[in-house]
Symmetry: C2
Subunit: 112 residues, 2 copies
């Protein structure tokens, strides 16, 4: 029904899925990459860099902000966005927690 049955899953599973959604769109990946590179914390010239409308970018930024992956601070008439490196580390270990499990269980060649 297009509605995820969150109650069937653990808190961690739901959390990881929620975060993964942030990465599940190329525009948001692009935004994150731009913010990472220009650590000077750029604002809405994202509209120029990417070819999307202002409203669309703003929407993606909000999603990233709601998940805590980025922070935004008002800077004159514009808004300065940047990576929230603390959250970033959390997310990294959330993913690696899953990734590493396979590495652990596959040290021999017991996998198919």
């Amino acid at each position: 029904m297009g509605v995820t049955k969150t109650d069937l899953f653990t808190k961690q599973q739901n959390e990881l899925a929620q975060i993964a959604k942030a990465f599940a769109h190329p525009a948001r990946i692009a935004i994150l990459e731009i913010l990472v590179e220009s650590k000077s914390c750029i604002n809405g010239n994202l509209v120029q860099e990417l070819g999307l409308a202002q409203a669309t970018i703003s929407q993606h930024l909000r999603e990233l902000k709601e998940l805590g992956l980025i922070k935004g601070s008002i800077e004159g008439t514009s808004v300065s966005y940047c990576i929230n490196s603390q959250k970033w580390e959390q997310v990294r270990s959330l993913f690696n927690g899953l990734f590493d499990q396979v590495a652990d269980s596959c040290d021999s060649d017991s996998c198919c």
Copy 2:
């Protein structure tokens, strides 16, 4: 319009976003975790483990298989699924490629 403008982004950005979608649903996370733990490559008793209908699980399995994250082999009347550890490593480094960029650029406290 609900349609992603893939042509605006790089191949890598689209690829990472595509893979991230695999992780963007708790049922698929749960499935992957179960397959990781029971490296003996379990089949559709997933239906019992998770509380979803058989058709729903099958659909999630197909998505994971199409992305190459899991493999399935016919085993009598049932199907044995397991992690594709080769692809798994690729995915891990795809994500870490992004994650590490922040670590690199934030060694001092130049971030906001």
